[in-house]
């Protein structure tokens, strides 16, 4: 088991073989082309997968996981690593529970912060939002899941496994003990399948807005040029670790 601290009552305990497991989750994801140069957001060893660069926003609710129930907001940039693998670098990620925050930061280097996140279904719309602090609206993502996403394309946007990259950083003290590593991990997403044998993935029109930019949480730095697709889906998931690709 991978355990955090305190040693006698760790904030998280993760079975290294099974990873972090999730059940009965739902999420909205928007995949878009990026308007601005984001090279300064990427660590050495990763480059944009496309020109112009592409990225995404993910807002989810995990009704159960082995690090607890929580909501999550992620900004990703689609990248290629030095081995030619495609995946997503995470410059910004927010969660609503401390166990998920600690496990993500300490094990994968996911730069998680606590924030107010929700995923709401109202009328014909699904809305996800990120606020930090509560009331300071950083992102609103609305979409209308009106069409079954029955094509194969989602398997290329969110393949199984979907690789993720982040930089695990432990600052040195008096020049000693510092760690800065590029970590490759993965999300294995199992889309729910309905009684007709179809994956529970719906697409439809959507809009992402950076409502109120913040210098403290600059998620707006990944500027959206064109939203290519917006999907709502229900799923189970497993997160695990692939390798440390680089020591800086």
């Amino acid at each position: 088991m991978l355990r955090g601290i305190p040693f006698d009552s760790p904030l998280y305990e993760v079975d290294e073989d099974r990873g972090i497991e999730y059940r009965n989750c739902d999420a909205i994801t928007g995949f878009f082309t990026i308007k601005n140069d984001i090279s300064d957001l990427l660590p050495e060893g990763l480059k944009p997968y496309s020109e112009p660069a592409q990225g995404g926003i993910w807002i989810s609710h995990y009704s159960f996981s082995t690090v607890g129930e929580y909501h999550e907001y992620i900004t990703v940039i689609q990248v290629e690593d030095e081995q030619g693998g495609m995946g997503y670098y995470i410059p910004y990620i927010y969660v609503t529970n401390d166990s998920a925050l600690a496990a993500g930061r300490e094990l994968a280097g996911a730069p998680k912060k606590l924030a107010t996140i929700d995923l709401i279904k109202e009328n014909d719309v699904v809305m996800g939002y990120l606020e930090r602090p509560t009331g300071k609206r950083l992102v609103t993502f609305v979409m209308k899941p009106n069409t079954r996403a029955a094509g194969d394309m989602i398997d290329f946007v969110l393949p199984k496994p979907t690789y993720l990259y982040s930089v695990r950083h432990l600052p040195p003290i008096k020049g000693k003990g510092g760690v800065t590593q590029l970590v490759k991990w993965y999300a294995e997403i199992d889309f729910h399948v309905d009684p007709n044998g179809e994956k529970v993935i719906f697409n439809g029109p959507g809009t992402v807005t950076y409502d109120s930019p913040s210098a403290i949480d600059p998620v707006h730095k990944v500027e959206i040029e064109n939203l290519l697709t917006a999907i709502y889906f229900q799923f189970d998931m497993k997160l695990g670790f692939v390798d440390i690709l680089r020591e800086y």
Binding site: T33, S50, A149, V157, L228
Partner: protein, 207 residues
């Protein structure tokens, strides 16, 4: 100026539109590869063919295939379509009375025609290279099957795309259009795909 879809004029307009767009040149600067669009005959196509202008556009597209290549229709479901419409591969399409044929189609039972021509399609080949549309042409059966991408779907769905009622990525994600080919390459070039379909849907269509 509005043009009829499908027609040679529409293909020519598309060619001009893409090749004069600076943004397309930029976002598709790295693109190398062709598409074969397989537009499957459906009830909406037969309904549209009752309009002599649309029927004329369709027949002129077929007529753009030189006679020796038109031989490739023989023995295929596409020949079945021509036969169902009272034509043949050897028919001199320029002599067809379009008004009369459109009237005849309006009197046909679409289910019978579709059954006789099950799987028939109009195939269009589009060859893109570094920000340029080098060629757009009608393909005979079996031609350009090795295209980098194959986009397959019913006429009614392609019409939505052409008329700007839906975008290509949404139609592919929803499975209404099937895309075959190197998806990794496609993922790297979504901006080019999006811009191309935006240009295509900006051509005014005569109704």
């Amino acid at each position: 100026m509005a043009v009829v879809y499908p027609s040679k004029e529409w293909m020519e307009e598309l060619y001009k539109k893409v090749n004069s767009d600076e943004e397309y040149k930029k976002v598709a600067a790295n693109w190398e590869g062709d598409y074969l669009c397989v537009v499957e005959l459906d009830e909406e196509a037969l309904k549209d063919f009752q309009n002599p202008k649309v029927l004329k556009g369709f027949l002129e597209m077929l007529d753009s295939i030189p006679k020796e290549r038109r031989e490739k229709f023989k023995g295929t479901v596409n020949e079945g379509l021509l036969v169902a419409l009272g034509l043949s591969v050897d028919t001199d399409i320029s002599t067809v009375d379009v008004d009369e044929l459109a009237k005849k189609i309006s009197e046909m039972d679409p289910k019978v025609v579709l059954e006789a021509a099950k799987g028939a399609s109009l195939n269009m080949w589009l060859d893109f290279w570094h920000g340029e549309l080098r060629n757009v042409a009608v393909a005979a059966p079996g031609e350009h099957e090795d295209a980098k991408f194959k986009l397959i779907g019913p006429y009614s769905v392609f019409k939505q795309l052409v008329m700007g009622k839906a975008d290509a990525i949404t139609l592919v994600v929803s499975g209404k259009l099937k895309l075959q080919g190197d998806m990794g390459y496609m993922m790297r070039n979504m901006a080019a795909v999006r811009k191309f379909t935006e240009l295509m849907s900006s051509i005014p269509i005569e109704s």
